[in-house]
Subunit: 231 residues, 2 copies
DNA sequence: GTATTGTCTTTTGTATACACTTTGTGCACA
DNA sequence: TGTGCACAAAGTGTATACAAAAGACAATAC
């Protein structure tokens, strides 16, 4: 099963990038990675090409692969774009979700809840990522999904400390995020697009506040609502 | 210069896909293509992986690469998403464009004009593609660009007959599109976001009407304006 | 006549060797 | 001491050979 090793390399690299085990901008050495995953350089290079296409890594000719960087302008762009796309995806997800996708989303939410209960911040972040990717799948819009997937890469990396309670009140925020997920599920189940969008924007505000507090001491008041309704 | 052959394969495949020389859903044979471009299978496979990441082709395990298909549900999704993203991109492009990018856009527009004057439908379609990709670059938002690029792939393929006048009044539509491009350029130059968005939506309506007439005899009235302002 | 199985062909996936590019280091020389 | 060049080392890019999987087709069993 050499095919499996390649798939492992692919998913494990994603995992390590999302959890910042591989830091943004760090070099990825082909020979090291190929040895690590037990495949030759050829399939590993194909994995890197694929990851580059999905926005996880950046390739430079004759200079190898680097983990996608996260600089300050990218951050500004992220805050500008995320609420708009999240809202659009939520609306479509409420309209188009299938029962099968809903079952899957509930399963992911269970994983998420368990990870939080176990205070496993890494698994919680990955489950949160999977939750929002699952909503993207329900939207059934490959164009917007391409955008969403890239947003989620950076969102998960930015919020890596989110599910790691520091101050006592942090646990409250985490529980709030968990509860919002539950409400979002019920909105999707009811095909209630308006409610799904509203909940999504609430969820975004919670996450945004937390990220801004982490990134800079005094958060600037960003106009997420305006951005979402601007068009 | 073996590096160059790989680059040629990459750009020529894109060209052939956008111009429908390679039809949606058609199989891409690795050995045939590698012989054609004078490279071995290894680099050609990497090109295909890259094209897959960008949405030009679809890879299936053990079953090779196919040109990205365009089915009816995809078409519906396209009409749903395009105006929203085009408008968002136009707004950002007007706000963030650099003078260098503007010079580039004008050069592309010159190419576009010449292609139309020469009645070269293929080159006109490719120049039109480059024009809108250039606007995407001005927006300077990698998240939305990922979405835009995929929309443009399908838009260029759908509108392949646009720049091929059939009836006498078609030439008028083509000239109108050309003029709209000029106006969009001046809006970007003036950093006039509102005007850029309005012109973009006009431009979209023109293109949409033409595509719908081609795809189905009697076009259904789609709510593009609503879609654009829905969020 | 149909279905199933076994073999043959075609195509994709992987490993490895080698070529080329980039980059770092040391030495000569101004 | 600083600059430039040559060479070495490390890492990326490509070709080819081989392995494995999928598909085609015919023979055989029912």
């Amino acid at each position: 099963m050499p095919q499996k090793a390649k798939e492992t390399a692919y998913s494990d690299l994603i995992r390590r990038i999302l959890t910042l085990v591989l830091e943004p901008g760090s070099d990825l050495d082909e020979v090291t990675l190929s040895a690590e995953y037990g495949v030759s350089r050829t399939p590993l290079r194909e994995v890197l090409q694929r990851l580059a296409g999905e926005g996880y890594v950046q390739l430079t000719s004759h200079r190898g692969a680097k983990v996608a960087s996260m600089d300050v302008p990218a951050l500004r762009t992220f805050f500008q774009t995320a609420p708009m796309i999240y809202a659009a995806i939520a609306r479509l997800a409420a309209e188009n979700r299938t029962s099968h996708e809903l079952v899957n989303l509930k399963a992911v939410q269970d994983t998420f809840r368990k990870a939080i209960r176990d205070a496993n911040a890494t698994e919680a972040a990955l489950a949160n990522h999977a939750f929002h990717a699952g909503i993207g799948a329900m939207a059934n819009n490959p164009y917007l999904s391409a955008c969403l997937d890239r947003l989620l890469i950076d969102h998960t990396r930015l919020g890596r400390t989110f599910y790691q309670p520091r101050a006592p009140q942090d646990q409250g925020l985490i529980d709030q995020a968990l509860a919002q997920h539950e409400e979002m599920i019920s909105a999707f189940e009811a095909h209630n697009a308006e409610r799904a969008v509203a909940l999504t924007l609430e969820h975004w505000d919670l996450s945004r506040d937390r990220i801004e507090r982490f990134v800079r001491p005094d958060p600037l008041p960003l106009d997420t609502k305006d951005a979402a309704y601007a068009l």
